[in-house]
């Protein structure tokens, strides 16, 4: 199967006029002569929409057309005030790209992108009114990137993975908010089934399921539709391949089934022709290369790099890559230093993430200074503060609103710098051994408790040091002392 996906671009204004894009505004309040299709009004292309489209297309590894133009697609519908949609017909701005998805067994699979083109959205018709329909044109003229894949998708799960991957990519690039609640992504799968009998391959007619607006609906509709097509074939003794026409179907989420809408044989005659009101766009190769150079690393590529280069677990890497700001922070803080990766990961995904989540923010949105993070990670790595002190410092920094934190200064003020003086620590160990004879005895000769006792003694040392002793050093001192007593 193949997919057609419409993604709403995150521009401030509409594609051809200066009306603000705003979800949930009063009906028809975000309109002007241009998007109302009033006589005499003319469209002027939003540069940001074009550039976002090129970025998105490049991120999907598309070729960018050196010459592209806009065409009128004619059909009548009350939410389309000009009764033509400005779209791109034979020269889409992006073509012949691909996106890779992960499939079972750690393999990746390539889904080819046939084309990506920029077009305007229609408005909204409200049908649940008795006897009439109501039209709101606030959405009219919203910039959409239509993405069409080749029929490379083999299962409902692949379609699901492809769609969610595309959403991550869009958000990552900042080209779309890609909010499913606000209808920023709409999907139209084209589905048919290939049936092999002996050496012959047969194909069922293609159904296009219109206007799905959630990932789940994509998966469920495809699952239902493939089964329905196979069932149609199995249950009909007189089934003839190639006889039934392709059709459009709708998804009924309540009944969990697709419903017939119309035959594709009654095909539209859209009468495409170049829009005389809009000039063509030529794209210079060096500009395309510049845009390509500025693209962020795609989330999947980045995830794989964090795993292979820094040894993160795939799960941790996914969590960090899920937000581009977090991933950027991660990369900037460790700055290629593999030795810092593990500690940075546990800092970010531990208490910091919880603290940020509690405020509905991302970690990087709360504390964005890579230099501060790097400093803290280094302090932990060098044993200047211990793990619990590090966490305490981080949480406190995240509570405040300073953009940059000097963690070393902060640790000093809070008296959290670990004591590196071995003599001082030996004294504390001596003291603890004296006060906890029972535990020392356990460590020496109680097989049931010999393992746990040194930890208990370390805890005691930390306690009397007020948390300033370096637990690693203390542990070593205790172990040495026990060995000494056993030997002596």
């Amino acid at each position: 199967m193949g997919l057609e996906i419409h993604v709403q671009l995150a521009t401030r204004t509409k594609l051809f006029c200066g009306c603000a894009l705003e979800f949930g505004a009063e009906p028809n309040s975000r309109t002007c002569p241009v998007c109302l299709g009033l006589p005499g009004a003319l469209p002027v292309m939003n540069r940001a929409a074009y550039e976002a489209s090129v970025r998105f297309a490049l991120a999907m590894n598309c070729k960018i057309a050196a010459f592209t133009k806009w065409d009128r697609k004619s059909y009548y519908y009350p939410d389309l005030p000009k009764n033509y949609q400005i779209s791109q017909y034979d020269l889409p701005l992006g073509y012949e790209g691909y996106c890779d998805i992960d499939v079972e067994g750690g393999e990746s699979k390539r889904i080819r992108i046939r084309r990506a083109h920029l077009e305007e959205d229609a408005g909204k018709n409200l049908h649940d009114v008795p006897g009439c329909s109501l039209v709101d044109l606030n959405r009219t003229g919203t910039p959409l990137l239509e993405i069409v894949t080749e029929p490379d998708i083999a299962s409902a799960q692949e379609a699901f993975d492809f769609c969610t991957g595309l959403q991550k990519l869009a958000v990552y690039l900042g080209v779309s908010e890609a909010s499913m609640q606000k209808g920023h992504m709409r999907f139209e799968p084209n589905i048919n089934v290939e049936i092999t009998r002996g050496s012959d391959v047969y194909r069922t007619p293609i159904s296009e399921v219109k206007n799905l607006n959630s990932f789940r609906a994509v998966r469920d509709a495809i699952e239902y539709e493939t089964q329905r097509q196979v069932q149609d074939w199995l249950s009909d003794e007189n089934y003839v391949f190639g006889q039934a026409a392709n059709e459009n179907r709708g998804w009924n989420a309540d009944k969990q089934m697709t419903e017939y809408q119309r035959s594709k044989e009654a095909a539209h005659d859209y009468r495409y022709f170049p829009d005389p009101d809009l000039m063509p766009v030529t794209t210079a190769a060096d500009w395309v290369e510049k845009v390509r150079g500025e693209l962020p690393e795609a989330p999947t590529v980045r995830r794989n790099r964090l795993v292979s280069e820094f040894g993160l677990s795939p799960g941790d890497a996914d969590l960090i890559v899920a937000d581009r700001g977090d991933a950027d922070l991660f990369d900037a803080a460790i700055d290629g230093d593999k030795t810092l990766a593990k500690r940075m990961t546990s800092l970010m995904l531990g208490a910091a993430k919880k603290s940020a989540n509690d405020r509905d923010l991302t970690v990087s949105a709360v504390l964005s200074s890579a230099a501060s993070w790097r400093q803290l990670v280094r302090m932990l790595e060098d044993g200047m503060v211990n793990a619990s002190a590090g966490e305490r410092l981080l949480l406190e920094a995240m509570e405040g609103d300073a953009l940059e934190i000097d963690f070393e200064q902060m640790a000093k003020e809070r008296n959290l710098i670990q004591v590196q003086d071995v003599g001082q620590m030996s004294d504390w160990v001596e003291q603890v051994f004296k006060d906890n004879a029972g535990a020392v005895q356990d460590a020496l000769s109680n097989p049931k408790k010999a393992k746990a006792a040194p930890g208990f003694l370390t805890g005691k040392v930390m306690q009397i040091s007020g948390g300033k002793a370096d637990p690693k050093v203390v542990g070593q001192l205790i172990a040495a002392k026990i060995r000494e007593m056993q030997a002596g």
């Binding site: 002569p33 109302l36 299709g37 009033l38 006589p39 005499g40 009004a41 003319l42 469209p43 002027v44 292309m45 009128r72 004619s74 009548y76 009350p78 005030p81 000009k82 009764n83 033509y84 329909s133 039209v135 044109l137 005659d269 009468r271 495409y272 022709f273 005389p276 009101d277 809009l278 000039m279």
Partner: protein
């Protein structure tokens, strides 16, 4: 009536008030419009209020107004937020645009006073102003004859001295042809010279707004006000606007004038030929040289034009469906019926014919043979002209094959009506400027026009040649009785 140049001078110098001039125009309209049908709407209150505003300005402020207090008429396909804009169509009968066209804003900023909206062939589709849902416009030289079209109302407003200047629009000759048939100056600028924002579209790649006036000087003054870039029209260019008035008095000695033989071939009436030849002779007398040029594809222009213009029109007019504005049929059944019935009731026969032809030219299976081929022939026509302009500054020709025809004479044969556009449409297809200048009268006293065409953005040259011609001739001073 004084010229626009004289009127604005008198207002700037404080010798007369804008209100005086506007009242004079309103009286003239009241006296002649019933008979001539030039105006579909007279904006008396708006005009008087506007005139008073100008009179209230300081002397310094008035100095900055190139059209201070000049009454002007606008073709009723140019949007005005103070008056309905109907395209002389039933489908837009009571349409009040919530915005004004770019040219309307420019005129008001320049101190001009819009006194009314003029009649046209519905949606500018026609060559006689007979295809109007509002009224028929009559030629002031002979009221039984058409004034030409589609900007017939604006041409007559100027020809019959109701306003000194007016704006029309020209898609295939809709300024030049009525200018020729009513004995006034009319200019279609280079495509992209004047913003189309607020001009209700007919053929978007061909339409251009332009001036009507008695003199080339007034046309230059008016063009200078409306020309220039507009960020709301992607097809409007940023090329500098020339000093049209400043170059009027340059000598035309040495200018090379091209004569395309294809424009003087079969079909041209003897009387028109005689006067156009005489006009060219006058220009030679002023020192211009004539050179033969070849435009061999001229005869394909009409076919090319009628495919492109109607295809674009079929799409441009799709929006009139009774949903968001305009006429909605009372026969409201389902939505499909509402669309079809509203359009059936709202459009006149010629508009329907062109929607049908344009829809056909774009429809599946015919696009390549008709629309695409026409776009390619258009390329060749443009190349022909570019080649000709390598040798000459201006091309001279007739505007129309003959003088004004009788009302009703051609309505039964649409194709014959189309064929009469043969001399004017090439300029639209090529996007070049072209104008009509009065160059004589036939034996029954009907005006004849001389067409001047130039390369893109050569309006100053055309106006210069026209002005020098008018300084040496008196055709433009004759008045209809």
């Amino acid at each position: 009536m004084p010229t626009a140049s004289e009127i604005s001078n008198s207002v700037r110098e404080g010798n007369a008030t804008a209100v005086d001039h506007v009242k004079t125009a309103l009286v003239a309209i009241a006296g002649r419009n019933d008979e001539l049908g030039a105006f579909v709407n007279v904006c008396e209150d708006h005009a008087l209020a506007q005139a008073e505003r100008i009179d209230a300005l300081s002397a310094d402020e008035k100095q900055r107004l190139p059209l201070a207090g000049v009454p002007i008429a606008l073709k009723d396909n140019i949007c005005t937020d103070f008056a309905p804009t109907t395209c002389s169509s039933k489908i837009l009968k009571s349409f009040n645009p919530p915005y004004s066209a770019h040219v309307t804003e420019k005129l008001i900023d320049a101190g001009a006073v819009v006194v009314g909206k003029t009649n046209l062939d519905e949606f500018a589709m026609g060559s006689s102003t007979e295809n109007s849902a509002t009224c028929i416009t009559r030629n002031p030289w002979d009221r039984e004859r058409v004034p030409g079209g589609s900007s017939g109302g604006s041409a007559v407003a100027v020809a019959a001295d109701m306003t000194p200047i007016a704006l029309g629009s020209d898609t295939g000759g809709s300024i030049r042809q009525p200018a020729s048939l009513t004995g006034v100056v009319g200019l279609k600028p280079t495509y992209g010279r004047v913003s189309r924002y607020g001009l209700i579209a007919f053929g978007s790649s061909l339409d251009q707004i332009g001036p009507f006036a008695k003199t080339a000087e007034d046309a230059a003054l008016l063009l200078g006000v409306i020309a220039g870039p507009d960020t709301r029209d992607s097809t409007c260019v940023s090329t500098d606007v020339a000093d049209y008035v400043g170059s009027l008095n340059e000598s035309i000695a040495g200018k090379k004038i091209g004569i395309p033989r294809e424009y003087f071939a079969e079909g041209l009436s003897d009387e028109t030929r005689k006067h156009v030849d005489a006009a060219i002779e006058t220009l030679r007398g002023l020192g211009a040289e004539t050179v033969d040029v070849k435009l061999p594809l001229t005869k394909y222009g009409i076919a090319c034009y009628y495919l492109i213009a109607t295809a674009e029109a079929s799409s441009n007019l799709a929006r009139y469906d009774g949903v968001h504005y305009g006429h909605r049929s009372e026969k409201a059944g389902d939505i499909v019926e509402m669309y079809s019935a509203s359009r059936e009731e709202g459009f006149g026969a010629e508009v329907k014919r062109r929607i049908m032809l344009g829809t056909y030219a774009l429809s599946s299976g015919y696009y390549d043979a008709y629309y695409l081929r026409a776009m390619k022939v258009r390329t060749l026509l443009r190349r022909d002209l570019e080649k000709a302009f390598e040798k000459v500054d201006v091309i001279c020709s007739p505007v129309t094959p003959s003088t004004a025809f009788k009302i009703g004479e051609k309505t039964s044969d649409p194709l014959a009506m189309y064929l009469a556009d043969v001399y004017t449409i090439t300029a639209n297809l090529a996007g070049i400027p072209a104008m009509s200048v009065p160059c004589g009268f036939d034996s029954v006293g009907l005006p004849i026009g001389l067409q001047l065409m130039g390369p893109a953005f050569s309006e100053a040259t055309l106006l210069n040649v026209a002005h020098q011609y008018q300084l040496n001739t008196e055709h433009h001073q004759r008045m209809p009785s």
